[in-house]
Symmetry: C2
Subunit: 511 residues, 2 copies
């Protein structure tokens, strides 16, 4: 994994940068901006995704570079905290001082909340993930590298149900991110079995029962003979992203629900767009729990938990003007180049459904069967409402072409997702647009090199260079993977409307 982005440079730039752009003008008085939200003890909350004072307020259309830090960094202080001022600040805890004194009821370090000007209950917040980059560790000893943690934890699906003794064990595996130039992958570096850890307040943690405890490596046995030769494909994504729910003030960051949160779908990655129903004024977007690799189910309790810096664009859709797909949206909906992904949960809105003790009871009542039922009904509704199908048409399509997968079985409110491909709806869902028109329309400069079959698009100080038929391109001189290649149709270069809109957003970032 190339760590082409220097987070240190960006931290220095974290004051708001204001530049004009013709895009996403929420009203005549505001212009889109690019913001930088650094991760430090001022800008994060730990374990709570409820309402709270925003650390940043943005307008619809604004882009935010947001640093997101993994709460598992304490599993290897040397490789994941030391020398990184922001992470040190967040994790700082000694017998005198604890910077993030409030940790809970959940576990995730959430950057935000980000308030969106004018957002009100009933609106929908669109979040485009324009870019995600691994955060290099800050320790010169491991310069340029990024590490991640997978913890087979006590909340894992097979905890206590293992074949070998002790059946109830927690095992932490430290992964290291690499690239062979073509594929990014993670390799296991070493593992250790969790031993009781004593925190600075003298409390002993026999299991992984509190976030941010720094593991004393004198107490654990590091096993470097682990997963030799295995290269886990990197799937960078935000495990937890969403808006604040209205039902409670302090909200556990672990169970996902209608507001998003800890959805733990690896599809929430660069190139994807999330839609969240807004239920509190300002929406209060929060971003955290970055993952470098996860399978559907996240079965042992965690992914490869790491730290990531992302560029996101935030677009507010007002209730009165909602597209048919977003009207009455009651769950986190994902869109990417080729798919719509509907997210179901054991409880669609567990905070409302389970009553006063919802935040405790959710951990004892989930099942995949319940999540499947929820996903099935949501998918049928989406197809009827969003694709103008009758109930019978929708149900047939759900059977013959919709894939239902198990998102996670470890987050209290278990998840099932449904993947609906856009291609089957043709132009209705994947409209082909002329490349030149698409980029000309907002003032980008489009330059063709016909013999080389390349096109260079310049806008706002950014340059995107693409070649017909290729999925790799360069953006500001760095290699990127496109959501889809530029194609030729009728002698004309075309892309999908999703791609056109996505790269317009990417180019609109002010550096």
């Amino acid at each position: 994994m190339k760590n082409r982005f220097s987070w240190k440079v960006c931290t220095a730039l974290s004051a708001l940068m204001v530049f004009g752009s013709p895009l996403y003008v929420a009203n005549a008085d505001t212009k889109p901006r690019t913001h930088y939200l650094a991760a430090n003890s001022e800008n994060v909350r730990w374990g709570n995704i409820g309402k709270g004072d925003p650390v940043l307020t943005v307008n619809s259309g604004d882009i935010v570079t947001v640093e997101a830090i993994t709460h598992h960094s304490g599993d290897d202080y040397e490789r994941m905290i030391e020398g990184d001022a922001g992470v040190e600040d967040i994790f700082h805890w000694d017998h005198v001082e604890k910077n993030e004194a409030l940790r809970g009821p959940g576990v995730h370090i959430m950057t935000g909340p980000i308030a969106v000007e004018g957002a009100e209950p009933g609106d929908v917040l669109e979040v485009k993930i324009l870019d995600m980059k691994l955060r290099p560790n800050g320790n010169e000893k491991y310069a340029g590298k990024t590490f991640g943690v997978n913890a087979a934890a006590n909340w894992g699906y097979l905890y206590g149900d293992m074949a070998e003794e002790p059946k109830k064990r927690e095992v932490v595996t430290i992964y290291e991110m690499n690239s062979d130039g073509v594929t990014d992958y993670a390799t296991a570096l070493y593992s250790f079995k969790w031993t009781p850890q004593t925190d600075p307040d003298g409390k002993v943690h026999p299991t992984i029962d509190y976030p941010g405890v720094i593991v004393d490596h004198d107490t654990v046995e590091e096993n470097f003979n682990v997963l030799k030769g295995v290269k886990v494909p990197v799937r960078l994504h935000f495990g937890t992203m969403g808006v604040a729910p209205k039902e409670a003030d302090v909200v556990d960051s672990v169970p996902p629900s209608y507001f998003g949160g800890n959805v733990d779908d690896w599809r929430v990655t660069e190139g994807a767009t999330m839609y969240y129903p807004v239920s509190v004024p300002g929406a209060l977007l929060q971003v955290g729990d970055p993952h470098a690799g996860q399978g559907d189910a996240e079965i042992n309790g965690t992914a490869i938990e790491t730290s990531v810096t992302g560029d996101i664009q935030v677009i507010l859709h007002k209730k009165a003007d909602l597209d048919k797909k977003l009207n009455n949206l009651s769950y986190p909906l994902l869109e990417n180049e080729n798919e719509w992904v509907v997210h179901g949960f054991s409880y669609a809105n567990y905070l409302a459904e389970l009553g006063e003790n919802a935040q405790k009871d959710i951990y004892n009542n989930s099942s995949i069967d319940k999540a499947m039922k929820d996903a099935a009904h949501k998918t049928k509704d989406f197809l009827m409402k969003g694709m103008d199908l009758t109930e019978d048409e929708a149900y047939s399509l759900m059977s013959v072409s919709t894939d239902f997968g198990i998102t996670q079985v470890v987050d209290g409110n278990w998840g099932v997702h449904a993947v609906i491909t856009k291609g089957q709806f043709g132009e209705a869902e994947q409209k082909t647009v002329g490349l030149r028109n698409a980029f000309d329309s907002f003032g980008a400069k489009v330059v063709w090199n016909t013999p080389k079959q390349t096109v260079t698009i310049s806008y706002n100080g950014n340059t995107l260079a693409m070649t017909i038929g290729q999925t790799t391109a360069t953006y500001n001189g760095e290699k990127i993977k496109l959501t889809a290649p530029v194609r030729l149709a009728g002698g004309k270069a075309v892309i999908s409307d999703y791609s056109a809109s996505f790269y317009q957003s990417v180019l609109s970032k002010t550096n």
Copy 2:
């Protein structure tokens, strides 16, 4: 979908054809053969996948062209039965005569059983799916076309749980297969709501409660305004394939289990290999329930049910010589170019686990949660045994890179599958082999055209022409999609060992 294969011609050739081949010699006295197993009332059973007299006996390494017919053909007699002698023969039922008198306890028309010489309990039967082609309908009125049926049936997941009245309704949608030259797709032609149907014996079927009932189209209302503009991606696969279980003589074809059967995983397609644990002498392989499109979950009860002719190669692995991945195999295991897929069920072996009334009780006891637990344990076992991982290594990999999906929730014994990518294990699972060596080794002729970057491989009267870097190729002059493209590595053309073995099998078929 090009229907490049004339089933009528092949039916005429259905006598066994015997040609030599150096491959898969089970013992010195037998040579691999290519067999043709036509679908007719002699060669199929209806609804029962238990032990029975084989209609064909083959040696390990033999290739069988097998015709498989959908049991839903009666939903549109004109388009799916009329004029097709084999299908007419199977479905023939009037007040005098019923060719397939025994239909049940399940619903599928199964071609076979095919006995494998020397197969004994404890062995593993490998079935490579070399080719699958749609079966054109036999009615000149619809010449060259293939139709399929999706039935939102009474065993569907949302039956009785629909929003519109009547909540308990069965809707049949007739699909037609098409191709735009690049992609094969299915379009809905018309749909109708099931009405009570009277069979030739005078019995009324208020719901889809018995297979092979011919729908009287004077009693239903055909709605041709259905799913307009929607092109469902074609995923040709065998819904039901497997060996006979040992636990009972007559076995319902609907619930899948350790022996395979109605697994309903769309990955059981051309280019894939299935492994089944043998539990009765001769293995007794059966093939049926072809599908043209299905999503994970098969939520409304059926896929796009159609008829297909497939080429399969059958390879017997004796108990004493089993590879570590196949040793003590207790479930249907799938392999393809890039993946291993483990299949879990609510009950790993429902016939043994549920006792005397298993075949009834299975319909009231399934859940996705149970299937997930089974899939989780099987996946951990597979990774430990097949990939030489420790339990902790396996569990970590299951969380960071294994995708768990819902295979089906409509077949009595519900399914969850786990997809394990081979790429992460590198050469251990995707060995790269020199193309020339791979095909030279069994006597194929390999001819290069260096300027054009093409290679032509001839063997046994067959010709495979590939171009470096391309996934499309031609086989005996017809366009096919390769499991993976030929690549250049160190100036040498290479393919994966899976590809090499697969196309060796493909070329070994005697036409």
